[in-house]
């Protein structure tokens, strides 16, 4: 054997041995070392680790937060109303041993399946205790907290910690949506009618007020006008009285004569008279009768 061989072969063998016994655990992984197919150690920090070459095998699992998301489910609320719920679950493997055992070798799919069953039944219970409004609005968070809490026993059974359960969708089924739309339409109709009715009321008020004001204005004007006319008449009467009162008898003669002329001015009248008035004084004889 040459010197190089003496150096090279052991070096090579050493390299192969190191190669077979060293393994790397990434920051997002956790690892389990099996000795003769049995779980030996599972608490490895990220980094470089060593194991026995032939006896031990290593299997890696996710350390990251994992996602479970399935088809939307239909649940019944306490009011016997259907709601369609789409939720997601954030979970992680907290105990690798239990997880490996419970899922027959660490199959994420089967883990998701088991998780889904648990979550579904927990949600069904919670939804069944609440109304739609409570579920949608107020108690959404509280309910999900309850669900997360009830799945805490999964820690022991499956080595899973459920970090968060959140609903992405809580919707009403198609047939119920239709009735909701009807209700929304009816409510808007009521609002519209309300607006229009209030408009009518205000308009009528304004019109009535305007009419009233108009009547008042005209009545006041009538009152003032009559007063003025009265003043005029009074003034005229005063003037007449002052003038005619200077000689009442003459006024009577004068006025009567005017009256006779005006009364018979049309020419269509017929006078039947005896010729014995002062006008006919000299009618029968030239001497005054």
């Amino acid at each position: 054997m040459t010197t190089q061989l003496r150096i090279a072969i052991p070096v090579l063998i050493a390299a192969i041995v190191v190669w077979m016994s060293a393994f790397k655990v990434d920051q997002w992984e956790q690892a389990v070392v099996f000795r003769f197919r049995e779980i030996n150690r599972s608490d490895f920090e990220p980094g470089l680790h060593f194991m026995w070459p032939v006896m031990d095998t290593v299997k890696k699992f996710e350390l990251r937060l994992l996602n479970m998301d399935q088809e939307p489910q239909r649940y019944l609320t306490i009011e016997k109303k259907d709601v369609i719920v789409d939720y997601y679950v954030k979970w992680r493997i907290s105990n690798v041993r239990s997880f490996y055992t419970a899922t027959r070798g660490g199959d994420i799919e089967s883990a998701n399946f088991l998780l889904a069953q648990r979550i579904n039944s927990a949600l069904r219970d919670e939804f069944g205790k609440r109304t739609v409004q409570e579920v949608v609005a107020g108690e959404r968070g509280e309910m999900l907290d309850i669900v997360t809490a009830t799945t805490s026993q999964l820690e022991k059974e499956m080595g899973i910690t459920v970090v968060d359960v959140r609903t992405k969708r809580i919707d009403l089924p198609e047939e119920v949506s239709t009735s909701v739309y009807d209700r929304m339409r009816a409510e808007r109709l009521r609002v519209a009618k309300d607006f229009r009715a209030r408009g009518e009321e205000a308009a009528e008020r304004i019109r009535a007020n305007a009419d009233r004001e108009r009547e008042v204005i005209l009545a006041n004007a009538y009152r003032d006008a009559e007063t003025i006319r009265g003043e005029g008449d009074a003034l005229a009467t005063e003037i007449y009285a002052a003038a005619y009162g200077k000689n009442e008898e003459f006024y009577t003669l004068y006025r009567s004569l005017n009256a006779y002329q005006n009364s018979f001015s049309s020419g269509k009248d017929l006078i039947v008279l005896e010729p014995d008035s002062d006008f006919f004084k000299y009618f029968r004889s030239p001497k005054a009768r």
Binding site: L5, K24, D26, Q27, W28, E29, E45, P46, L48, R64, L65, N67, Y88, V132, Q133, V136, A137, G138, R140, D164, R166, T167, K168, R169, I170, S177, Y181, R185, R188, F195, R196, R198, G199, A202, A203, E204, I206, D211, E213, R214, I217, Y222, D224, A225, I228, R229, E231, G232, I239, Y240, A242, A243, Y244, Y251, L257, S263, F264, G267, V272, R284
Partner: protein, 379 residues
């Protein structure tokens, strides 16, 4: 070690055998010579024979190549908007800042570049329930970037998909706590703000290392199925205003008109007053002047006025003179025939009657209303 014993005892066939060259690595020389022949004398002929190459030079060259490769391997440039997450044998050690960095060679250190400066955007558009069980269409746009490179890489499976889930969940939760009117009208900015806070809280709880930059909400709309009713409600609000305006217009029309009418009434009264007074003054003045003249010669003026007036009256008017003292008790006066005859002013009935051909005077004669010159046959 069978190959160490050549069947022919030929020393030359033993690749591991001694070459009789003393120190140095003779087999390396052999290999290099073969290479040299293949390259057609690339290294050139140096002084010296078969062992003419300077082994030190080749070593130097080889070492230089290795060093250069090593330098390339252990230096890492990080862009301004990137960070480098360094895993040593898988274990996280540090995050590299922008610039020139030195790490261990790649079988020891693994560098994962992460873009922390780029702002990415996702939009989510959906129909959802409000607190009062109404349905509304909502569209949100979320802008985000990676804030903590290490957390982004290590903690969550598919952080981008997680972000989308969180966005959907958060917007529904925030809308689900608000009433429909609030969502449609004044609540937009508050809802967007609440959603941003909620999303950030959840993402921080998951330790995704994601930072939400902004959340913007497009104006929420009522679903298409009820859009008409919502539009009509808005129109009704405008109708209310319109009705009030119309009534105001009516009012603005009739009140000024009424005032105008009132003014007219007053002015007409004023006119009447002035007229009546003026007329009275006129009549009074006329009378007073007449009175003055009358009082100068009362009897004569009286007679004159009397006779003038009666003359004027009687000359214009058809008349019938009767003398009841000397006539029968019953007198036949065909007044309707007399009234019906057409006559001119001044006519005192001197036209012959159409039927009888006699004038009124002749009729009177027949009736016996004569002056005393005739006798009285009836008596």
């Amino acid at each position: 070690m069978g190959w160490n014993e050549p069947p022919n005892g030929n020393k030359g066939r033993d690749p591991w055998g001694d070459r009789g060259n003393g120190g140095g690595p003779p087999d390396l020389d052999e290999i290099v010579r073969r290479m040299q022949r293949g390259f057609g004398g690339l290294f050139g002929r140096r002084t010296g024979g078969p062992g003419g190459y300077n082994p030190a030079l080749l070593w130097l060259l080889g070492a230089a190549i290795v060093v250069v490769l090593l330098i390339f391997d252990i230096t890492y440039f990080i862009d301004q908007q990137e960070r480098g997450v360094v895993l040593r044998f898988g274990r996280y050690v540090t995050t590299l800042q922008p610039g020139l960095n030195v790490v261990f060679p790649s079988f020891i250190d693994n560098v994962i570049p992460v873009n922390v400066g780029l702002v990415r955007s996702i939009t989510h558009k959906a129909t959802m329930l409000t607190q009062d069980e109404n349905i509304v269409d909502v569209e949100v746009a979320v802008q985000w970037r990676i804030d903590d490179a290490a957390e982004f890489v290590f903690n969550v499976e598919d952080p981008t998909a997680t972000l989308r889930q969180v966005a959907e969940s958060a917007v529904r939760e925030v809308i689900g706590k608000s009433k429909l009117d609030f969502v449609l009208t004044e609540g937009r900015s508050e809802i967007a703000q609440n959603q941003k806070q909620l999303m950030q809280k959840i993402l921080n709880d998951y330790r995704t290392g994601i930072l939400i930059v902004t959340v913007e909400m497009q104006p929420a709309k009522p679903p298409d199925q009820v859009k008409a009713a919502f539009d009509d409600a808005i129109k009704a609000r405008e109708d209310e205003q319109r009705l009030v305006n119309e009534a105001e217009a009516y009012r603005n029309d009739i009140i000024p008109r009424a005032r105008g009418g009132a003014a007219r009434l007053r002015e007409e009264a004023n006119a009447y007053k002035a007229t009546v007074v003026a007329r009275a003054e006129g009549d009074a003045a006329r009378f007073e002047q007449m009175l003055t003249e009358y009082e100068r010669a009362p009897a004569v003026t009286r007679q004159r006025l009397y006779l003038d007036s009666l003359e004027s009256v009687l000359s214009k008017t058809p008349k019938v003179l009767v003398d009841t003292r000397n006539s029968n008790n019953v007198m036949y006066v065909p007044l309707d025939r007399l009234l019906d005859r057409p006559r001119t002013p001044g006519d005192s009935g001197a036209q012959p009657d159409a039927a009888t051909g006699r004038t009124a005077a002749q009729a009177l004669q027949d009736l016996g209303t004569q002056p005393d010159t005739r006798g009285r046959p009836e008596r």
